[in-house]
Symmetry: C2
Subunit: 196 residues, 2 copies
């Protein structure tokens, strides 16, 4: 059975691999998430997913499957990162309030035998209008910190989300259906990774 | 602080109330989920949500908030219930494979002071085509049992779901944004129910 390495420190991605029943090891690869200029959000998300996966292969044993992922929250072409403090979280939420934005996740599967297999998932997320009071309350819960776009769709942030179009788990940070569909291209299957 | 009663035995609904930080008591009310004839799926889901909430008020202390919910999985006007056995689960999944269906949740908030406050959430779910082997494997995991439509979007079933349009948590069985929006109509607020 191949070792599976998740090149991401995100507890949400880890939880989704656990949901699929895939034993894995976490090896965050510390890739700089800076903008490279001139890239589309899709290109950037895939580039970072590949870079993360490549960065984690160093610590691998023989023939692992390395999974890299990078998620961007994009409004009008502008990528919203993780808020640095509560003030920035409120500014980001004000930008998302009452509008739609895109969540873009690049995925990379890397194994010794083949080149990188990549894909990208895009979901549209529509926010209800948020009052100042709601933004203040939500920021005070602490949930927005550490999340791209300053919200957690899998947390209390759900009350502010009117609708989603696309993969839900992409909005959480790991599009499981895309992952499942890329596995055969990388020479793996879900059953195999689950040890069945 | 008002007591909150969830008139549903669904562990998914319970988990979503916990996610929102709302302490509550579970009082399943054993309402028959039979078709009444001539109803639309929306009408039926709301009727059953109200019946469940009313059924649970009996065990209530003073001035509770009772939450009733009923979720239907509907394809071409046909409601898909919970599979009775593995064979039926496979039949249902074959019907959903490669197609879109609707998930309809009726929600009812009942409190002593006011009449029932109701709402309905509808989400569209698009399934990837599933092979016979995939259906057999998924049924064998046991996950389809006890779930309307024979799948769990919050479980491994996610790998077969191409996209969602609408509320994600509605597909899980409890549309949290609709719940949040109905609360003021019923005379409550999320902060109050969280004990803040």
């Amino acid at each position: 059975m191949s070792e599976v390495i998740l090149a991401s420190a995100s507890p949400r991605r880890r939880a989704l691999l656990n949901l699929l029943g895939i034993p894995h090891r976490v090896v965050p690869s510390g890739v700089s998430e800076e903008d490279n200029g001139g890239e589309s959000p899709r290109e950037r998300a895939v580039r970072l997913a590949v870079a993360k996966a490549r960065g984690a292969t160093r610590s691998a044993t023989s023939d692992p499957l390395v999974i890299g992922a990078d998620t961007l929250v994009v409004r009008d072409g502008e990528a919203m990162g993780k808020p640095r403090d509560e003030n920035e979280a409120a500014v980001i939420l004000k930008k998302l309030s009452g509008r739609s934005h895109e969540v873009v996740t690049g995925l990379c599967l890397l194994s010794g035998e083949r080149g990188p297999v990549t894909g990208v998932a895009v979901s549209r997320v529509v926010f209800h209008p948020m009052t100042e009071e709601e933004i203040g309350w939500y920021v005070a819960t602490g949930e927005p910190m550490g999340k791209a776009g300053a919200y957690a769709v899998q947390g209390m942030g759900a009350v502010f989300i009117e609708r989603i179009e696309g993969s839900f788990h992409n909005v959480v940070g790991f599009p499981v259906d895309l992952f499942y569909r890329l596995l055969p291209e990388a020479g793996f299957s879900l059953r195999q990774l689950r040890g069945e």
